[in-house]
């Protein structure tokens, strides 16, 4: 199991389109993936789960992956957060 702390840095936070990108990025990985913040943990492969986390810009979030390809799945998530979900500006 891998865990990583990250702070949400895209301007709009984890809204539906950003959540969709996260779910799409995790598509195809066998490992399970979770996001946690403010004591709540959700399945990162579920768009509803990610959206309902209500994580806006500046929110600290814990990423967790568990499974055979957990390192790659983690990297895919971290990349997306670092690219700020490819949001403009």
């Amino acid at each position: 199991m891998l865990e990583k702390e990250i702070t949400i840095s895209n301007k709009l936070g984890l809204h539906a389109r950003a959540s969709a990108k996260l779910v799409q990025a995790l598509h195809g990985f066998q490992s399970s993936a979770f996001l946690a913040c403010r004591g709540k943990e959700v399945n990162a492969k579920s768009i509803m789960g990610v959206m309902m986390l209500a994580a806006g810009m500046g929110t600290p979030v814990t990423l967790r992956t568990d499974g055979p390809d957990e390192a790659d799945a983690m990297q895919a998530m971290v990349d997306l957060f670092e690219r700020k979900f490819d949001e403009e500006s």
Partner: protein, 573 residues
């Protein structure tokens, strides 16, 4: 403007059947829900297909998010559980799930995230609509759309296209803004839209007659006779203007004596491409790529550029597209991911092809992306700021290498792609005869050519009087470029501001120019002007024009060809 019957749409307008299900109805009800969800997903996927092209990228992101929500068991199993365990009918279960989620959104701290409960509402409304359709009421619902102005609190951008197709005349929204995705899409669909009409839903009733003016942002409920007269006058003008424009849209561009002239569009934004198509451009004569590099800290990679160029090529449907390689200098570098030293004099500094050759990886990435897009339609590559023949040779080598590498890597690229130079440095114009063999085509960039020939900064207000395309030196240079290119049988396109300014059209035709590239908004106006000229008659005056030694005499000559038409057919949208 639009005049029509009001049709109020609230999320709660779907009928909710509260009667509990009998034991033996449960599985049929779950199946009904599943069918409605499947239908909603299919609708979204059909919409996404229909929306391909550059215009649609932002809308596509919403559609993807909504599709994923419909596929998410956390949403759907919650609803089917309500049916199974609570014996709710599908419509009631959907409403409960929606209310539950909306309540959670309302409790969110972040104002943007809170406002995105819209996504949940749109998705659930789409499934509700699917359930209604199951009971075969769809035909009636669509038919009744004709002649209506939709009044709603909010609307998903993806819903606008089918609404317009079903005959909705206009949209009034209680929320939203002029720059929202929906408002931008509405404009491109020519659908009048009023946003942020906060009390619209409370003060307008179903079937009220509404007159809305999307440009003014005004709504008249129960218009008076005077309002209707104003509407009729507008309608007459629009029809008249539309007729004239429609004639010009489909018209050929041909001088009175039958010489075909090609009018290309300069483009950058998706809306430019849409306009170029609808105004009958011969292709894109200048596609600027700087926007891909600006306002961001990193450089765009090959894949990102490829997708943009590919959509551009697809968007033009087989018409030629001329993509100009990066034309940035030190004055703009700090807005991009290009680390550059400050320069005393950026206009004479490291810019255009000079920068591309100094940072070959940037150019190679761009050339690869353009070449990959060439698999989807005709592409020409235009290199800016060429000063010496040697620069062109080096770009050609890099292009050939990139093409060879791509083919080795298994990419599909066109067999032929033309490489041309933007002639905007006077030195390049003067030695064009030596360079022309290495060029497949020539583009004249008059904005910079004027600035460099006259040594006038085009942004210096005090020197504006000197910045003059009619200076005989500029006219003679343009004439020389055109003659040299024509003698070598190379296409020559002029793509500065003067190409789209009808005051210069006669002069450029006289100099022998047959390919113009301009802002798409100017296409119809220039077409109208070209069609009123006689090419042979103008050509006969070329040698006299080149002997004219003052801009005043040139201006006087041009005055004799002043366009006779009144009004401007420029972009009304």
């Amino acid at each position: 403007m639009a005049l029509g019957r009001a049709r109020l749409e609230r999320p709660s307008r779907y009928l909710v059947d509260d009667r509990p299900l009998a034991e033996d109805e449960i599985e049929a009800e779950v199946a009904k829900l599943d069918a409605a969800i499947a239908a909603a997903r299919e609708e979204l996927s059909a919409l996404r297909d229909k929306l391909h092209g550059t215009l649609a990228r932002e809308v596509a992101e919403f559609i993807d998010a909504h599709s994923l929500m419909l596929a998410d068991r956390e949403l759907t199993s919650g609803i089917s559980n309500l049916i199974r365990a609570g014996r709710y009918r599908a419509s009631a279960a959907l409403k409960m799930q929606r209310d539950r989620l909306v309540e959670m959104f309302d409790a969110m701290d972040d104002p943007y995230l809170r406002s995105r409960k819209e996504d949940v509402e749109h998705v659930i409304a789409r499934v509700q609509a699917g359930l209604v359709r199951e009971s075969s009421r769809e035909e009636r619902k669509i038919a009744s759309r004709v002649g209506e102005i939709l009044v709603a609190d909010t609307i998903a951008p993806s819903e606008l296209v089918p609404l317009a197709e079903h005959g909705v005349l206009g949209v009034v929204l209680g929320s939203g803004s002029q720059v929202s995705h929906g408002a931008i899409l509405a404009r491109s669909l020519h659908l009048p839209m009023i946003v942020a009409a906060h009390d619209a839903l409370s003060s307008i009733q179903d079937d009220d007659l509404l007159l809305i003016d999307g440009e003014q942002g005004s709504i008249v409920v129960h218009p008076t006779a005077a309002d209707l007269a104003r509407y009729r006058a507008w309608q007459r003008d629009t029809i008249q203007q539309g007729k004239r424009l429609a004639l010009l849209r489909d018209a050929e561009t041909r001088t009175r004596d039958g010489v075909a002239i090609a009018l290309y569009a300069n483009a950058e934004l998706p809306s430019d491409i849409a306009q170029a198509r609808s105004y009958g451009a011969a292709g894109i004569g200048l596609y600027r790529t700087e926007f891909l590099f600006l306002q961001r800290p990193e450089l765009p990679d090959e894949e990102e550029q490829f997708l943009v160029y590919r959509d551009l090529v697809l968007g033009m449907g087989g018409l030629p597209v001329t993509i100009r390689t990066l034309d940035l200098g030190a004055d703009k570098a700090d807005e991009s991911g290009l680390a550059m030293d400050d320069e005393e004099n950026p206009a004479l500094g490291m810019r255009g092809v000079r920068l591309s050759l100094h940072r070959p990886q940037v150019l190679v990435t761009q050339l690869r992306a353009i070449l990959r897009a060439s698999a989807y339609g005709p592409v020409r590559i235009l290199v800016p700021m060429i000063t010496t023949a040697d620069e062109m040779t080096r770009v050609r080598e890099m292009l050939d290498d990139a093409a060879r590498d791509l083919r080795t890597e298994g990419y599909e690229i066109a067999d032929n792609f033309e490489l041309g130079a933007m002639i905007e440095v006077p030195a390049a114009a003067l030695v064009l005869r030596d360079m022309i063999r290495d060029l497949d085509f020539v583009a004249i960039g008059t904005n910079d050519l004027v600035q460099y020939t006259l040594a006038v900064d085009r942004n210096n207000d005090h020197l504006a009087y000197l910045y003059d395309p009619l200076h005989p030196a500029v006219v003679r240079l343009i004439a020389y470029i055109i003659v040299t290119a024509r003698r070598a049988k190379r296409r020559v396109t002029l793509c500065g501001e003067i190409a789209g300014d009808r005051r210069y059209t006669a002069l450029l035709l006289a100099l022998g120019l047959t390919d113009f590239s301009m802002h798409p908004g100017a296409l119809l106006e220039i077409r109208e002007t070209v069609n009123s000229q006689d090419f042979a008659e103008l050509r006969a005056q070329a040698s006299d024009l080149l002997r004219v030694n003052s801009r005043e005499r040139l201006a006087e000559w041009l005055g004799g060809f002043a366009p006779a038409t009144t009004g401007t057919p420029a972009d009304a949208n």
